[in-house]
Amino acid sequence: MPITTAFQTEIQRVSILDEHGQFDAELGDGLISNDDLVRLYEDMALCRKLDEVAFKLQRSGRMGTYPQNMGQEATSLGAAYVLNQDDWLVTCYRENCGLFHRGLPPEKILLHWMGDERGNHIDPELCVTPIAVPIGTQMLHATGLAWASKYRNESRIACTFFGDGATSEGDFHEAMNFAANLDIPVVFFCQNNHWAISVPGHIQCSAPTVAQRALAYGMDTIQCDGNDLFAVVHCMKTATEHARKEGRPFFIEGVTYRLGDHTTADDARRYRDQDEVDLWTERDPIVRIREHMKSLKIWDDSKEAQLAERVEEETSAIVQRAEGIEAPNDDDFFTSMYADLPADLRRQMDTRRTSSIGEDPSQIENPQTA
C-alpha cells in the first residue's frame, strides 16, 4: 500500500438557534437559563444603542474614529458569559458587548475612542487588557497571560478575540504555534465577519473555513454561527472545558457579519453589495434572541418598550460620564512613561523642550565642576 491516509478530519459547525427561529432543543435546552437570556439580551440592546450614540458623537465631532460592533454582539457576549470572572478577556476593538458583560464601565470604551488613555486604565479585577488596534498583537499577549497563569499554577485561562483579517498576520500563526506546542490554555476566538475593512475573506484565507487553520497546529477547532448566542455559548463551554482540563488551546470560528462600516472613517457601500448586507440584517443576533424570548413567553412588546427607554437613559448617562471627565493635565503624558520618571524626561516635563538638557546649562547638575 504505497499511499495511505496520514490524517483525516472534519470541521464541525454548530447552530442551535437559526435566523428562522428554529431551535435545537437537544443542544440548546438548559444552556442559558431564561433569566440569564433576558440579561444577555439587555446587554446586547445596550451595546447596540451605544453604537448608535457613538456614531453620532463621531459625526458631530465629539469623538474620534469609532468602530461599530453592530451585528457582532453575540460572539464576545457568549464568550464573556461562559468565562470565569478571573479569566483573561483579551480583545481587539469590536468586543464591546462582552466587555460590558464582564463589567467594564461603558464610558471607558468611549473615553478610549475620544483619545483618552484613561479609557484603558481598567480595574485589574476585571482581567481585561487594553484595546488592541495593531491587528493580531493581542493574541500573543493572551498566550503569554495564559502561560503566566500556568507558570503560577493558577487555573485561569485566556480568551482572545481577533478578526478574519488578523489570521493573515504572523502574530496569529506564532501565537497558535506557541499555544499548541507549549500546551497553553488559550481560547482563540476568530470573529469571521467577512471583511477586513474592504478586503474580502477569501483574500485572507482560501480554505473553506478559517477553523481548519487550527488543525495545522494540532489544535482542536470548531465553527459556529456567530450570530447565534446559543451556539457561541455551546462552543465556548467546550473550549473552556478543554482548556481547563487538558491545559490545551482551542480554536473557535464564529461566522458573523459586520453590519456597519469598518470604522467611522470607512464607507462600506463602496465595496460591498446591499444584497449581502440585507441578507445578514435578517440574521441579526439581537432580533433572533428577541423573537426566541417571545416564543418562550418571557418577553413582549411592553418589556421591549421599557428596555428601550432604560437603554436610552443609560446611554446618555454613559456619554455624560465620558464627556464629564476633566481633560488630562499637560504633565500626564510624562507620568506613565516609565515606572519612575528618568531625570532627562523630568527636565523635558519641567521645561517643555525636547532638547531641554542643553538649552539651559543651569539645569545640569554641577555644570561647573571643571
Binding site: R118, G144, L145, Y338, D340, I364
Partner: protein
C-alpha cells in the same frame, strides 16, 4: 576582597541565575536557551538548575516569544527574552517597539512591561550584513524603553542585574566579540545603576565618549595617543537610555574637546544625539566642534579586512582626536 575573574558570558549568566534564585517571577526564554545552553552558551547549565518551566526553548518565532513575554509581564512575571542576535529582533518589531515600551502609557499607567530583551548586538566577526545589526541607533529613538550596553564583565553582571529588577522594558545589548573577555566580577549581589557613566581613563586634552564594544577601541587609541603627548579622557556611557550627560559635560568643560564614538550608522544615532546635546550644553567651552566616529554608511561588509575598516577602530578614533585638537 576577591579578585575572582569571569568571562563576560559567565557574568551575564551569574546575574540571571542569582536573580532567578531570588525571584521566582523571573524566567528565561528564547531559541536554544535550554537544552543547547544558548547559541553562545550564556545560559549554560541553567536548564539543569531551574528546569524547563523557567528555562524555555521556544520555536523560531521572535515575534511570538517577544509578544508572549509581554502577556506574561502583564500578569506580573519578569521575563528575560534572549534574542540569539539583536539582528533577529527586527521581525519582532511590533511587540518590542510598538507594544512593550508603550504598554504603561497606553494603559493609563496600569500595565508595566518589566521585560529584559537581551542578545548579541553589533558586528560579530564576518557574520555578514543581515546578522550584524547595531540596533542602538534605531531602537534608542523609542521612548518608554531603557537601553544598557556593557563593555566589561563586571558591568555585564551589574547592569543585567539592574535590568532584571527594573520595572520597565530594558534592551540589553551584548557584543559577541566581548563574550570571552575576562575581568574581575564581584561575587554576590552586584548592581550598576542605570544612567551613570564611568570615566575609564582620566585625561586633560580631549573627552572620548563611547559605549559597548567600541570603548575598548577608544582605550586602545588613548594609549597610542599618550605616546604622542595627547592626554585622553575616556568615558564609558554604559546606558544609552537613560543617558548620563552630566558626566560627559563635566569632562568636556575640562578638556574643551570631544569625540563621540558609536558603532551605529551616523544618521539619527546615539552619537549624533550626544553630539547635539554637548553642543548645546558646552557651546562656549568647545575649542572645536564635536567629532564623531561611526560605522561607515554601508551594510556591514562580509570580508574581514573591510569589516575592520567599516567599524570604528583605534586608528580612526585617533585620527578624529588629532583633528579635534588641530594636530596635523
Amino acid at each position: 576582597m576577591s579578585e575572582r575573574t569571569l568571562e563576560f558570558r559567565d557574568a551575564l549568566r551569574e546575574a540571571m541565575s542569582q536573580e532567578m534564585r531570588a525571584n521566582k517571577r523571573v524566567f528565561l526564554l528564547g531559541e536554544e536557551v535550554a537544552e543547547y545552553d544558548g547559541a553562545y552558551k550564556v545560559s549554560r547549565g541553567m536548564l539543569e538548575e531551574f528546569g524547563p518551566q523557567r528555562i524555555i526553548d521556544t520555536p523560531i518565532s521572535e515575534s511570538g516569544f517577544a509578544g508572549m513575554a509581554i502577556g506574561a509581564a502583564m500578569m506580573g512575571l519578569r521575563p528575560i527574552v534572549e534574542f540569539m542576535s539583536w539582528s533577529f529582533s527586527l521581525v519582532a518589531a511590533d511587540p518590542i517597539l510598538n507594544n512593550a515600551p508603550k504598554m504603561l502609557y497606553m494603559s493609563g499607567g496600569q500595565f508595566g512591561c518589566p521585560i529584559v530583551f537581551r542578545g548579541n548586538d553589533g558586528a560579530g566577526g564576518q557574520l555578514g550584513s543581515t546578522h550584524s545589526w547595531c540596533v542602538e541607533g534605531m531602537y534608542s529613538n523609542v521612548p518608554g524603553l531603557k537601553m544598557a550596553i556593557p563593555a566589561f564583565a563586571d558591568d555585564a553582571k551589574g547592569l543585567l542585574t539592574t535590568a532584571i529588577r527594573d520595572d520597565d522594558p530594558v534592551f540589553f545589548l551584548e557584543s559577541e566579540r566581548l563574550l570571552a573577555l575576562k575581568g574581575h566580577v564581584p561575587e554576590g549581589e552586584h548592581l550598576v545603576p542605570f544612567g551613570q557613566a564611568l570615566v575609564r581613563r582620566s585625561g586633560d586634552d580631549v573627552t572620548i565618549v563611547s559605549f559597548g564594544r567600541p570603548v575598548h577601541f577608544c582605550l586602545e587609541a588613548a594609549e597610542a595617543l599618550e605616546a604622542e603627548g595627547i592626554s585622553c579622557e575616556v568615558i564609558d556611557g554604559r546606558t544609552i537610555r537613560p543617558l548620563d550627560l552630566d558626566t560627559i559635560v563635566r569632562s568636556v568643560k575640562k578638556t574643551n574637546a570631544c569625540v563621540v564614538v558609536d558603532q551605529s550608522w551616523s544618521f539619527g544615532s546615539p552619537g549624533s544625539e550626544i553630539a547635539a546635546q554637548i553642543h548645546q550644553a558646552c557651546f562656549d567651552d568647545l575649542d572645536n566642534h564635536v567629532m564623531r566616529v561611526h560605522s561607515a554608511d554601508v551594510p556591514t561588509p562580509y570580508a574581514w579586512n573591510l569589516e575592520q575598516e567599516y567599524l570604528p577602530n583605534a586608528r580612526r578614533i585617533a585620527e578624529a582626536v588629532r583633528s579635534a585638537l588641530y594636530v596635523a
